[in-house]
Amino acid sequence: MTKAAELAKMGEVLTNSQIGRKNIITNGAMQISQRSASATGVGATDNVYPSLDRYAVSLGATSAGRFTMSQSVVTDLNGFSNALKIDCTTADTSVAAGEALMIQHRIEGLSCQQIKASSTSTNAYTISFYAKSNASRAIVLESKHTEGTNQQISSLHTIGTSWARYTMTVPASSSTEIDNDNTTGITISFWIHAGTTYTGGTLNTTSLAATTQANRAAGIGSIFASTDNTLEITGLQLEVGSVATPFEHRSFGEELVLCQRYFRDLCSGINGSVLSLVTHYATTNAVGTFVLSPVMRTTPTAIAVSSASHFTTYSAGAARVCSAIATDSFAPNIARMTGIISSITAGYSGWIQPNTTSATMQITAEL
């Protein structure tokens, strides 16, 4: 590249504000895995978040193939220590037309307004990521908008056996919308297995266009072709402009807080310490509240606790293990826990705490 060309690119980077807080992706360096560092037998259930925060598994028709999704340790890529790893554990070489497997990152509309050019158009943006595989592997990176007419564009990448960076620039587009709300604005998908319903056409690589299913993943191989197959991805970045700039590293704490807008474990890491103050609303329960900070995307769903017996209340000079416990939420910033215990005097107060490191009390507001 000539000096003049370099200066032109630098000017474009500055014009597009591609310096500082530029990466729209959360957990791009794959550092956060609040649910589990590794999940096995994945592939049977659609629309789940098995391991790394913000990375969903999306299926078409279900394949017989299964995989382990994990947060792998990276030792051979400068600047990165973790990756999202897919490891095929059950092969499926008979691919039905409607089968599909995508690893998705769904971006909230409120978090990607800088891509909006007008209410019916979008600016150019660039997606980049690092990847490696056990063998040469063709995958598709797709960007799909939820609103507007022109919604979808794909790019085919052949992943090698050493870490390399791959990029896709999405041109500016009309008839494309990104609503300024807390629903999904853009979905980034890594297509790693699909049948002819999604591969039978010609890959749409030129511009955002109305979705034609057959043009979404043409040319990919299948991760389920062999149990030898692995794929690792890290350094996912989405930034405004037509240039992929160096990955924006954020601190672990920043990424964790960003992820907690969508999922968190209210008692993670506080075994044996106060989880919440409680009041005995009636003679058999203890009620406590949690202020949710950061505020979650929407009123969260409460996942059943690990076990009621993992929680103990302390009041009136006695410890009582819960026989049942439930969490409810009433707004994006408040949740309530109700523990059922043996007879106590209504109106007493106390506290509740986990009594084991196995205790979980999870809430989710994922897209």
Partner: protein, 58 residues
Amino acid sequence: MNITKAKYRLDLDGKTKIGIETTINGINMNVPLDPQNTEYIAIQEWAKIDDNTIEDAD
């Protein structure tokens, strides 16, 4: 999402509906009555299918 159970949940007063007890993908959850909550949206779609109903609370 594979929904196998949905039942309204009452507040401590025993009268006010505050959510839906549900089982999704084999996991028990309490879903708020929030039209932007992903699980609530899924339950509403599930309830449109014949024979699927959200049960009244006890």
